[in-house]
């Protein structure tokens, strides 16, 4: 998630740009820097890529921008992904250009910039890039059905039933004050699932829990579609 732009093999630049980052992990193709109405995964635009210095790229949601209708409109996706998420990526890259904080995966970068509770300026952008990458993955077209297999069993074990879990999740989201996120996490120490809330850009990775699904409760995530009726948005 939130992968550094790698050079020549993914960017059809006329000259190879210097490898900015020794990428790790699985790599997704990076979108072009065109307008967000582009709805397919794209490789970098030729010509421009070689002039662009960037550390992390904007990953595309694994579905078309209208694929979550009617629950989440294409317009919302265009803005949320194309503007908000993109802004976090661009702002992060601008900050990193002046700061020798490269060489990390996004997960590492978040922990490093969190700086044990005294966050560096890059933290907000890095965490929000990761959070949004995760958010797109947490949703799918035609989703909303019950989880399967091991996850369902674990949910039933830790929450008594899926609908208990769902109620708890919704209640958590409804009672969040201000901007933030709601997560289903696996608590690594207690080895059980839990619903947690975080404020602003905070992410459960910080304290070592493993996010399973994440829900963006910043107003920009639902306002165009649901205005102030966040209950309907969550359900």
């Amino acid at each position: 998630m939130g992968f550094p732009l790698l050079s020549p093999s993914y960017c059809c630049g006329s000259q190879p740009s210097p490898p900015i980052f020794h990428g790790l992990l699985r790599f997704k193709p990076v979108t072009s820097l065109r307008k967000p109405s582009s709805q397919k995964r794209q490789l970098c635009q030729s010509g421009r890529a070689s002039k662009i210095l960037a550390y992390y790229g904007l990953t595309t949601p694994p579905y078309e921008l209208d694929a979550l209708e009617p629950y989440m409109s294409q317009r919302t996706l265009e803005l949320h992904w194309g503007k908000h998420h993109r802004d976090y990526v661009d702002s992060l890259n601008k900050q990193l250009a002046k700061n020798p904080l490269y060489g990390h995966t996004m997960e590492e970068l978040i922990k490093v910039t969190y700086n044990n509770g005294n966050p560096l300026p890059e933290f907000n952008n890095a965490a929000q890039v990761w959070n949004h990458d995760f958010f797109w993955e947490s949703m799918q077209p035609g989703g909303g059905k019950l989880p399967q297999g091991g996850l369902l069993q674990q949910i039933e074990k830790d929450f008594d039933s899926f609908s208990n879990f769902r109620d708890k999740f919704v209640e958590s989201a409804m009672t969040l004050f201000g901007s933030g996120w709601v997560w289903l996490v696996l608590r690594t120490e207690e080895k059980r699932l839990s619903v947690v809330r975080t404020s602003n850009a905070m992410c459960p990775l910080i304290w070592g829990d493993i996010p399973i699904i994440g829900l963006d409760m910043w107003e920009h995530a639902y306002y165009l579609d649901y205005k102030e009726e966040n209950v309907r948005a969550i359900c």
Binding site: L79, K83, H84, D87, N124, F177, G178, S179, G180, S199, N200, A201, W218, E219, H220, Y223, L224, K227, E228
Partner: protein
């Protein structure tokens, strides 16, 4: 206006421990905090706006004003009243755990009510003087502390734009030091949480709901335009009362 409207019912004084509200309401009777007594417990209701929903266009759309006032502000009031009722019960039972637990809901919803009540007074249609720069003692104080109104506006806009998540940006008067300050608060924290001596002169709501339908993610554009409907007259009145 609203305070006169409830004449005849018993009215609690405004000294419920919220400094700025008391000070502001005392200086501006039209603030309309709308108190009501029910079983000895004060309940709050939505103050009327002193202008039509569409009157602040094009700076702020009528759609936003209506949602912001009738839905968001109303929800804060509803939940504030609920929290206060639960607080009263918990106090009567001596349930300290519950009393403390309720504080965050009271701060959030009560703060939301306070802040928005001030905000509606901070705004004025352009054809009624909205956007006209301050004169008199506040104007001089701004020039002294910031060089010019433009410089102050720039500072407030920069702080407002940089605020992560939800919150407010304020022009405050430190009534002890008699100095102006620019402050931000997170979520619905009222200005007093940043300093007991701080009196709000102007506040700008930078929660996304305050601008999203019109300005989308471009908060700086909202901040630029909101000054066209800023009620500097209100700010001057509060200022003059405090420094007199």
């Amino acid at each position: 206006m609203a305070l006169r409207a409830i004449a005849g019912k018993k009215t609690l004084t405004l000294g419920l421990g919220f400094g700025p509200r008391g000070a502001v309401a005392a200086s501006c009777p039209g603030l309309g905090l709308r108190l009501r007594h029910v079983r000895g417990l004060v309940t709050f209701s939505l103050p009327d706006l002193p202008y039509d929903y569409g009157a602040l266009e094009p700076a702020i759309s009528g759609e936003i004003m209506q949602l912001h006032h009738q839905k968001h502000h109303q929800t804060y009031i509803t939940n504030y009243n609920k929290a206060l009722e639960q607080l009263e019960e918990a106090m009567a039972k001596g349930d300290s755990s519950k009393v403390v637990h309720l504080q965050s809901a009271i701060k959030f919803n009560g703060g939301g009510h306070i802040n928005h009540s001030i905000f509606w007074q901070n705004l004025k249609p352009a054809n009624e003087g909205g956007g006209e720069p301050p004169h008199g003692s506040l104007g001089w104080a701004i020039d002294t502390d910031y060089g010019s109104v433009e410089a102050l506006v720039q500072k407030m806009n920069a702080e407002g734009a940089a605020l992560q998540g939800s919150g407010w940006v304020w022009l405050a008067l430190d009534k002890e030091m008699k100095k102006l300050k620019v402050e931000t608060t997170a979520n619905q924290d009222p200005l007093v949480t940043k300093g007991a001596n701080l009196v709000p002169l102007l506040g700008i709501d930078v929660w996304e709901h305050a601008y999203y339908l019109q300005y989308k993610n471009v908060r700086p554009d909202y901040l630029k335009n909101v000054w066209k409907v800023m009620n500097w007259k209100y700010a001057s009145e509060v200022y003059e009362k405090e420094v007199a």
